[in-house]
Symmetry: C2
DNA sequence: GCTGCATGTATCGGCTCGATATATCGACAC
DNA sequence: GTGTCGATATATCGAGCCGATACATGCAGC
């Protein structure tokens, strides 16, 4: 039922809320800045999604404002145990894992919180995807006028480089034990508790 | 009024129809295969767009089927003079030229039919865009855990390579006269007259 | 002559984007 | 102090697009 994009958004939100509760505005800012390649999403998408996650029991609302403030109430969302489990499911790839640029970058952003076996599977899935793309580009490498061919050749070279890079990651993942240790760093700014604006 | 995406689609359709009249199915196939990076678009988008272009006088419908065939009528679209002019406008960049991956790749696909001055402007616009992206990535290169940083570093290297490539193109464009000659090749399969299925 | 696949046009529901409305807070100027 | 500006924060709406689906024909293989 859930769209691929919806699943991806759920994954990102659940991942962000893992370390600290946040309100919607904060979530969006981090998706924009910290997570990087994840395309900015509009509030018209995010807010309904947050409410949906509450409905499904993955999040709970929690207002940090005292009752006697005149301030517009801000809704802080907090992860439930159920939500934590859901993140694990989504991180593992779920039913139909997508390996496009955006999905892959997002998965990588939460790799430190992903199981070793799932990590390997994701890297290999991405590899397969890029190899498909490379084959497709080589298939009609000769087509197009010289301008298009210029772009095609450049894209092909980029793909080869990306694949080499991926192969290195896979080798490293295979070599290390299930917990990479030296590669994991808990000081991700996206995981620092957010400052929730006014103190009150 | 027109969306950025609509303008892009108009540009692609007008460009494809420059050499030969086609029906919608053919247009979609070429957008998918020949043009490459232009994301596949659904018929639910393409057909209304074609009808819209007819309404605006950029295309005319022309049925190639004789009256006595039982075959479902296929609508062949043909470029008008007005449409040819419109393509020139859009190729020049129009009001708000977009320089994202998709737009740029599409513009490049029709570069042989684009004026020299517009070509240079497009390459430089793309250059500016990539430099922005590079600056943004470098600004928070230190953020994220080591997994994200791995991706960030790789992306940064790719951007640098892309910029180098672009600089070469720009130098070549500057060096050559307004018509590149040696670089232009009219044998683009996208510009071969389409085979319209059954002969009749 | 049956089955499957490519060709070809068309529509619809649901989801998303982009714009907009509303409201509070902190900062800085005058 | 008070005026304005930008950041914070939630919410909604119209327009537009994707993905699925329906329908119909031609062609190849068996």
């Amino acid at each position: 039922m859930a769209t691929k994009r919806q699943q991806l958004l759920d994954f990102a939100v659940l991942g962000l809320l893992h370390e600290a509760p946040m309100h919607g505005y904060e979530v969006r800012k981090r998706l924009d800045l910290a997570i990087g390649p994840f395309r900015a999403l509009s509030f018209g998408t995010l807010y309904p999604a947050l409410r949906g996650l509450v409905e499904e029991g993955y999040l709970v609302e929690r207002s940090t404002d005292g009752p006697n403030t005149s301030r517009r109430p801000r809704i802080v969302y907090e992860l439930t145990e159920h939500g934590r489990a859901r993140f694990g499911e989504l991180a593992g790839g779920g039913d139909d894992a997508a390996y496009d640029d955006e999905s892959f970058a997002l998965r990588l952003a939460f790799f430190a919180r992903t199981e070793g076996t799932a990590r390997l599977r994701i890297l290999q899935g991405r590899q397969a995807r890029l190899e498909e793309r490379l084959a497709a580009i080589r298939r009609d490498a000769a087509s197009g006028d010289s301008w298009s061919r210029l772009l095609t050749r450049h894209t092909e070279e980029s793909l080869v480089r990306d694949l080499r890079w991926l192969a290195e990651l896979i080798a490293a993942e295979r070599g290390s034990s299930s917990t990479p240790g030296t590669l994991t760093d808990p000081n991700h700014p996206a995981f620092q508790p957010p400052r929730l604006g006014a103190p009150n």
